[in-house]
């Protein structure tokens, strides 16, 4: 009997050790995910800051140097007008990241506020807000954004407004759903019984508790929005030439793809790197927030 029991104990202990090892490994991997993502994004941003000084004018033409392949002098080569592709790519970072981040977080703020108000008050505010959300979500995202850009005229403002209007609905849904859960929590009731204003209950007590899913979602939303800014500019609906922007650089280079592959390919690679960076950050963040949530629960 005792032999069996001690065998069982040893087995349990071994299992415990193994589980602990797996846990440690996944924790390490999780941290690595977040940090690798941050590193990739930081790499591109730091390079762009350096680029500001190294290449004061990214649009400087030198027709004698046109269509040169990548070299030490021009790491990304030059385009058909002799402009340095790396200089233009780095200068484009600000527009692509700026518009994508701005549109994502304006949409997040708008959506979270609307969703929280809808879920908190219920009744007619909810009906009105959620009807708008349904309209926005019912239209295909691409069609909606292109329609808004068409109405506002091609340019960076149109892209920004289009992405914001197309994007806020999902955040509103997430926030409302979380608010409905919070409505049942005593700490929200407690805040009400203490005589805090509705605004305070929502801002201090509800939103900090419901924003996590929206933050996690926003990371993948940024990736999508970066590709959207680039795509719309590629289609000629976004940033207008000669302003350097990833999508328009890629579009410019596509007619030379067969004899000067670097013009389109290397900026495209930068888009991919930034996209992977944000995806990794989103993954890592989701894991961390989940872990923290598990502790809180």
């Amino acid at each position: 009997m005792s032999v069996v029991a001690s065998d069982q104990d040893q087995l349990d202990a071994a299992l415990d050790r193994r589980l602990a090892r797996v846990g440690r490994r996944s924790a390490r991997w999780r941290r690595f995910t977040l940090e690798a993502g941050i590193a990739l994004i930081a790499l591109v941003i730091v390079a762009s800051i350096v680029g500001e000084f190294v290449y004061p004018n990214p649009n400087a033409q030198d027709l004698a140097q046109a269509l040169l392949p990548p070299s030490l002098a021009h790491p990304f080569g030059t385009d058909n007008l002799g402009r340095d592709v790396l200089a233009r790519t780095l200068a484009g970072t600000w527009i692509d990241l700026g518009v994508a981040l701005g549109a994502t977080y304006l949409a997040l703020v708008l959506g979270v506020v609307c969703g929280t108000v809808a879920g908190y008050f219920r009744g007619w505010p909810e009906r009105i807000i959620m009807r708008f959300v349904e309209v926005v979500l019912a239209l295909p995202f691409m069609v909606l954004v292109i329609a808004i850009v068409a109405i506002m005229g091609p340019g960076i403002t149109g892209v920004f407004v289009g992405l914001t209007i197309g994007g806020w609905g999902f955040y509103a849904r997430l926030a409302r759903a979380e608010m409905l859960v919070l409505n049942e929590k005593s700490f929200v009731h407690a805040a009400q019984t203490l005589g805090y204003s509705h605004w305070r209950v929502m801002w201090r007590h509800a939103i900090p508790n419901l924003i996590r899913p929206s933050l996690v979602y926003s990371m993948s939303d940024i990736v999508l929005n970066i590709t959207w800014v680039a795509s719309l500019s590629y289609l000629g609906l976004g940033v207008q030439p000669p302003t350097p922007e990833w999508g328009s650089i890629i579009a410019d280079g596509q007619s030379y793809l067969l004899n000067a592959w670097w013009i389109s390919t290397l900026p495209g690679l930068v888009v991919v790197i930034v996209g992977i960076g944000f995806s990794l950050v989103g993954d890592g963040l989701a894991d961390r927030l989940r872990a923290r949530r598990a502790v809180v629960r």
Partner: protein, 349 residues
């Protein structure tokens, strides 16, 4: 001895005092498939200054809802359809919303059943205590901090100053309920509504929390409305009791009157089914009340308890229940047992 419930008697000299809160005819409805479901019907109770009124009843009988109406936080889509809530004999809280808003947290405050969820998980308890002190008591940041430490010490939290930085998940259930009480009494309220404050806690902690409430009451003359389904808690804490069933108050009176000489068959059933009650003392098995409470959307026209009541007569299912009484009297909504309740109790044993 029983005529008093039929004929409204002149008020006793002993209950001349104006109650701090007097609820009258409170009715709360929810929209339902077949019109409006009345979750609370014609509820009346009152609490004198410094006393504890226990409100007893099973889940869903409208206890918590009635008390939420007192604070104006009836959950959507519920709606107060009628009645009045007199504060200190004058203000009607149901009609003076501005006054009620300013009273919340200052003159009336509330503690909740689930201490695990009644504190905001993302802020430290110090933040939450100072928030109420700054916003509702108008203290400056530094004074609020000092007062917060005092309050935590008052509710029995060791090393209060360092605990201010703790987050709710770092505290045990009993500690969290203490913090909740500290927040509730922060502005020196006159009325504390305690909605099942110890249901989620284990028995030793329950005793400590109830003891704390009694101490606070003795120190500050706090009036307490204590909701519970636990007759033991009520017997220990309350001065007077209101028993609720299916949205109505079916019996009220002092603790001794109601628990020792229950006049409503439902109250008698509750007592017989409580561990440690008279049944257990007599060595007999605990008795359960047969059946289950009716859904509030399909209440019978007569007494809602009639289908489960062993004393029910034909008229019980037709004549609506009424609780007629003068203020402060022992009264029951049951005309059958009330008229002859001694016999009813004998049958019950």
């Amino acid at each position: 001895m029983t005529g008093a419930t039929v004929i409204p008697a002149p008020p006793n000299a002993a209950v001349e005092q104006v109650p701090l809160v007097r609820v009258n005819g409170l009715t709360i409805g929810f929209p339902a498939a077949n019109g409006t479901a009345l979750a609370v019907r014609d509820v009346a109770f009152e609490a004198l200054r410094g006393e504890t009124l226990g409100i007893v009843g099973e889940s869903g009988c409208g206890k918590s809802l009635s008390l939420r109406a007192l604070l104006g936080i009836v959950p959507q889509p519920g709606e107060v359809l009628g009645g009045e809530i007199a504060w200190d004999g004058e203000v009607d809280l149901l009609r003076d919303e501005r006054r009620l808003r300013s009273m919340r947290g200052r003159e009336i405050s509330m503690i909740f059943q689930d201490p695990l969820e009644s504190l905001n998980p993302v802020f430290s308890i110090g933040d939450q205590l100072t928030e109420v002190l700054r916003l509702r008591a108008g203290l400056a940041r530094s004074t609020a901090r000092l007062r917060a430490v005092e309050l935590l010490e008052r509710v029995g939290i060791p090393s209060a100053a360092t605990r201010l930085r703790s987050y709710p998940h770092e505290l045990s259930g009993g500690m969290r309920q203490r913090v909740m009480i500290a927040i509730a009494i922060a502005c020196g309220p006159e009325l504390l509504i305690a909605d099942e404050p110890t249901t989620a806690l284990d028995v030793t902690i329950q005793d400590q929390i109830l003891g704390l409430l009694v101490e606070l009451q003795q120190e500050t003359g706090l009036t307490v409305l204590l909701v519970s389904h636990d007759l033991g808690v009520i017997a220990q804490m309350a001065d007077r009791i209101a028993v609720m069933y299916a949205g109505r108050v079916v019996e009220t009176g002092t603790v001794d009157e109601v628990l020792l000489t229950p006049r409503h068959p439902y109250t008698a059933g509750l007592i017989a089914s409580a561990p440690g009650g008279t049944a257990a003392l007599a060595g007999s098995r605990l008795q359960s009340i047969g059946g289950s409470p009716p859904a509030i959307s399909e209440l019978p026209p007569g007494c809602a308890f009639a289908p489960r009541c062993r004393y029910a007569t034909d008229s019980c299912t037709e004549v609506p229940m009424r609780l007629d009484r003068g203020p402060g009297e022992h009264a029951s909504a049951c005309p059958v047992v009330d008229a002859d309740h001694e016999q009813g109790r004998d049958d019950g044993d």
